[in-house]
Structure formats: C-alpha cells, structure tokens
Symmetry: C2
Subunit: 392 residues, 2 copies
C-alpha cells in the first residue's frame, strides 16, 4: 500500500494560523482595546429574506410524501440551470442548460475539475494567487509554472509567448488583488490558449462586484472562449452562501481536446463521484434570481461596495498605491514606507488594532503588499480607516 | 493538453437507461395496466418532522445577522460530529470527534478518498458490486481485481490468501445483494488487510437496516479495524436524505501507511478541495439523533422493513433462493426456471407489470439474479407480490 506521495510535497500554510496566534497574543496584552478585523474573506450579512423563505418552503415540500424529493440529477435541477442560463443572457452570453453544472461551490469544482485532465499537463498560475490552485495540482503531481503579477502589470499579467502550458488559471476580479481584466486583455489569454491547445480555468467567483458594463463578468463574453475555457462561479459572495454552499461550473459543449468533449468527461466525473446539491439549497439559489431576490442581494453587495470605497478613498487620500476596491471586495495595497507584509501587519495591529492579511501569504510577489476586505460592518470600517488615517 | 485518458476505458452503463426504455415501450403498448416499480434504490417516505423543523429553524438563524453562519469547518460542525460519536457508542465503538468527517454523502467520499492513495495500488472489489467502486478506480488508472460473490458463499466472499492487494472494498449490508457479514467473517477480512498492509474501504450506508445485536453495524466493532479500515456512512437511507445530502466518513488516527496518518491526508484533501456541508443540512442531520428524531426515523425504517418481509415471505413460500430482505432493503433472488437476468426482467414486466433490476447489471456474477427493493409503498408491494405469487 502506497499513499499518494505528492501530498508530502504540499507546504503547510501558516498564514491564517499565524494571524490568529498574533491576534490572541495582542488581545491578551491589550484587553481593553477594540480590535477591528479586516482580513476575513467571508461575508457577514445574513441571507436575503427571499432565500430564507425559499429554504423553508422547500423544507415543507420535503416533509410531505407527494412533494418529497429523493436523488436529484447530479448536474442540478433544470429550474436552477435555466435561471443561470437566463442570468448569463444579461451580458449576451448564450449557454445551453446542459453546459451548466450545479455544485456545492467553486472551491470543490476548481479542485475536482482536474480529474478530467492528464497528469502530464503543465499548469500556469499567476503569483500571488488563491492557494487552492497550486495545492490541488501539487496533490496530483503536475508541473506548476508561475507567471508574475506585480505593480508593473497592475497585477494583471498577460501571456508570455515563450512559455508552453496546458492548463491556465485566471481569477478576475482577482483574489487576493481585486484587479479585473479588461475584455481586450482577456482576449489575449483566450488567443494564447487557443494557439497552445491549452484550457483556461476561469474563476468568476467575484463577478457580482463588477460595476462597469465594459468589464467582462464572464470569459464567454470573449470570442473564442467557448473553445478553450471552463468557468467557475458561486453564490458564496453573490448572495452570502459561504455557509449554504452552492456554485456552478460551465463547460461548453464546443470545448474539445483530443477529439473528446470535456463536457462529457465532466458529466461522467460528476455522475460517478457526486450526487448533486441539496434540493433545499437549489431552491434557495433559484430565489436569488427572482426579481425580489435581485433587489435584496444587490442591497447587500452595495453595502460591501460602500465599505470598499471607504477603504480605497483612504488609500487615495494618503497616496498609497493599490489595486481592487472598485469592482471587488478586496483592496490590495502597497505597504507604506517599504515595509514588508508581516512588518506592516504587526505595525497595524500594534498601533491601531486593525487586522489585515499579509500579501506574502499568497506567493512571492505578494511580499510588500497587504489585503484589506470590505466584508466587515460599516461602523468598524469607518473607524478602522479613521485610525489608519491618523498613522500616515 | 492531454485529457485523462483513463476516462476512455470506462464502460457506459446502460442498465437504468435500458430499463427506462423497456418501461416506456411497455406503457405505450399497455396503456391501461398499472405498473409497479420495485427497481428503484431511492427512498420514498418524506423527511421526518423533526428534520423539517430543524431546517426551518436553521434557515431563520441564517436570516439574522447575529446568528448567520458563513464558512464552517470543512470537516463539519462539532455539534454533528459529537452526535455521530455518541451514536457509535451504542455499539461500544469509541471514536474521537476529529476522526469523523461530515460530507455531502457516501458516494462523494467513496470516490474522493482515492485521492490520498497512490496510483500503483491494486484494488480488490467483490462482484456483483455498486458500480461506483469500479468506475472511480478506472478513472485513476488503478489495477482492479474482482473476487467472486456467488450462491456458494452466500454472496459474502472471504479473503483469498493467494491474492495480493492494497485497497479492499466491502459493503455490508450489501448493495445489491442485501447480504450481511457476521463479526467472525468480517474479522477474517480485517486480519487479511493487516497482514497485507492493505486498507479496507467499508461502506456502511445500509447499517440502519440491521436488526440483530450480533451483526456488526460498523467495522470498528472488529478488533484491529482501526488500523486498517476507513468507514463510510450516510443519512440517505437512515433518514431519507437522498435529496438532502449528508454523510460521514471515519478515518481513525491510528490508521497509518508509510508512517503517515491517513486522517491527516484526508483532512488536507478536504480542507483543500471541499468547503463543508451546508449549515442548514448539518442541523437537519443533528435532529436525526434527537430522541424524537430516532423514533420518527425508526418508524420509516420499520415501514420499509415490513415491505421487505412481504417480499421475502413470498420468495420463501415459492421456494425461490435469495439473500437480503431481513437486514437490508434489498432482496436479491435467483431467477426461477434458470432464467437469465434480462429474460426474467422481461418476463415480470410483460406478465405482471412489475419492474425490478437485472442482476447482470452489477457484474458477471449477477447474471441469473434479480434485485427487488422495499422502498415502494405498502399497497404496491402487496399487489406486486400477489401478482408474483400467481406466476409460480
């Protein structure tokens, strides 16, 4: 019996555990001080009333024999896939329902999708990055190359024609930097993927924060993307589903490699290793797309966006370089006075009792940068930025 | 770009699609006849009232900021893991909470667990079998050996000392045969696994149908099992959760291979590729273990068991050989008059309008056998068995 020895090549992440440890130490030393946490990547506003009602209605259905639902389709109920199909049409993206797969979240699918690809593929991942992209490929033993995201390219790297790769990760709006690709820059990635027979894994989990009609919410707004890209999205940030678990993955039927439809491979993977998302959760997700649901979730998104503006306005006033904040809940700032990421973390914690996330935790290019998030409440965000302003 | 070419080695299963096609043809030719379906492996009774109430209460919590839950622990909330730990104690099995991982169902975990094992392991699977065991290993390119389950061993094969293998699948009570291992026979498998440095993947999804104190509900009732076995269980059949999705996997901390704790590898897998089960579903599962919940789900299980008895009594009366039915919702019968599985399927459909599942669909040793299930309603089960009795 051999274990999967690739697991031994994984690096333990100490990012969030180190933050937690430092926070505990600070609190013990400073029992009276009010700590404001701006490092968290999780939503805080409750589920919208239409969503709560949909869950309760679905629960009642499940309690009555005539409306009880057993096994559902692994790829999701038609009512939800059709609602998502219609949602894509707002940006003129035409999908078929069987190109949409309902899942328990983008994180699961971003990891599981790798099942359908050979182990000998080379993977290209921007640095800094959401650590899951890297770890899931190390687990499978794939070769990983990094492409530099940095201040000179606005943390939006473009393809390097000298690099050969097979699988490309793009996250836009980006976690952790909040940077968003324009249509023309995303087109460069699509062209590069098509030329190299590569597949783009496009993480659109933060698309709901985009406020400009001009910026792409979906990679399928780009010509040619249906022949080279799989898109992952989620209700986690859109509708506060981080604890309710629902997402979706789009695998266009025109996307083929080695004469095989990837849609067919993914369907086979899901029907064999997955049994679908709870009926009550799919009804909850459907409610997000109702007229009332759209109004309610947009109010919540607006609240987070206003927090983000409070943060980015402060950076503007202080002349601190940053990305994100406008079409993203994240503000990725350059640490003032050339401080390193952890140095700046300690500086904020010890001087103004504000907790953020050191950029160095997301890759080597994150060193010297820092992530603040807009998922806290208004009062705390305002207070944190007042304290911040007093420092510089 | 290479796809995972192992997927091309998968055989398409035509079992349930062929059944569906034959049923449609029959219905079109015989519009007046009442068809009774006894092939389905899905529950039909609604969720218990305590479960419905728990979902609605949790939904209300999610709608209020102070009780809203975002990301939960990937391995499940303590309240549910502690309830499961307590459930195991009824049979004197002592687990620690961090040996229990909450999942969205046994099917997902039975597939995903393979992530932590090397690709060069040899897998031993009984035939006939739940097709997911075979397909998930073919997808990874592992070598699969089969061990014969048949009438002579009561569809409960014992280890063959001449066979070397690394991963062993055992499902007891079995799907599709309903046969249940005794403690002494299961001990032979545990001893064999320990001797061969193998790991047993024990599928206990049907344990709730066991009525005898003497039969093992969990492999951990067997000495030594914590050093060689991972156990998978589910609320699907226990509490009608096939459409609500919750299960659990036990990876004992004493289970090591190549000096590595499999518990630690599985935790790493789950924290990287999974984001936990919905809070509302975990509260629903917790309610199953309440005093009221246990009474309500036992009523449902009793209902199915009475159906199973109606079926097995009929087989007894007609002198038809079968396994299952007593500690299982499945009755696995030998087709009368030496009919083949599909021949018997057509015979039942055309003569008494009863639909079952041909055993041949579960592997070569299923040929000549047939599966009937007790998940239908009482009236239909009685009527089907009356019709059946008139035939033989």
């Amino acid at each position: 019996m051999n274990i999967n020895s690739n697991y031994l090549n994984l690096q333990d992440s100490y990012l969030f555990s180190t933050i937690a440890k430092k926070v505990v130490e600070f609190t013990q030393k400073n029992p009276g001080k009010k700590l404001i946490k701006m490092g968290i990547g999780d939503v805080t506003l409750p589920l919208a009333p239409v969503v709560v009602d949909a869950i309760k209605k679905a629960a009642d259905e499940m309690g009555v024999q005539s409306s009880f639902k057993g096994y559902g389709p692994e790829q999701g109920y038609a009512f939800l896939r059709d609602a998502i199909k219609k949602y894509y049409q707002r940006k003129d993206v035409q999908l078929e329902s069987d190109e949409i797969f309902i899942s328990d979240g983008a994180k699961s699918d971003l990891g599981n999708i790798l099942d359908i690809f050979g182990l000998d593929n080379t993977v290209l991942i921007p640095d800094p990055v959401y650590p899951v992209y890297v770890d899931t490929n190390i687990m499978a033993g794939r070769k990983v190359l990094f492409i530099d995201a940095n201040e000179s390219n606005g943390f939006l790297p473009l393809p390097d024609e000298t690099i050969k790769c097979d699988i490309i990760y793009i996250c836009s709006p980006n976690n952790p930097t909040g940077a968003v690709y324009s249509k023309s820059d995303l087109k460069k990635w699509v062209d590069y993927a098509l030329k190299n027979d590569a597949v783009i894994l496009f993480d659109a989990a933060y698309e709901c924060f985009i406020k400009s009609e001009e910026l792409p919410n979906s990679i399928y707004e780009i010509d040619g993307a249906k022949d080279c890209a799989i898109e992952f999205c989620s209700f986690s940030k859109t509708a506060g589903f981080t604890g309710t678990r629902c997402g979706y993955t789009v695998v266009p039927k025109s996307l083929k490699r080695q004469d095989t439809m990837l849609n067919k491979l993914w369907l086979r993977r899901q029907t064999t290793k997955f049994n679908g998302v709870p009926y009550i959760v799919q009804r909850a997700a459907e409610a997000v797309f109702s007229q009332e649901g759209q109004i309610q979730i947009k109010n919540n998104l607006q609240y987070y966006s206003e927090n983000a503006k409070i943060i980015s306005d402060t950076m503007d006033k202080k002349g601190i370089w940053y990305t994100g904040g406008k079409h993203s809940p994240y503000i990725w700032l350059k640490c003032p006075n050339n401080m390193k990421s952890w140095e700046f973390f300690d500086f904020l914690l010890n001087n103004i009792a504000v907790v953020g996330t050191p950029g160095a935790g997301f890759g080597k290019n994150g060193e010297g940068y820092f992530r603040l998030t807009s998922f806290g409440n208004r009062e705390n965000t305002l207070e944190a930025m007042n304290r911040f302003s007093s420092l510089f």
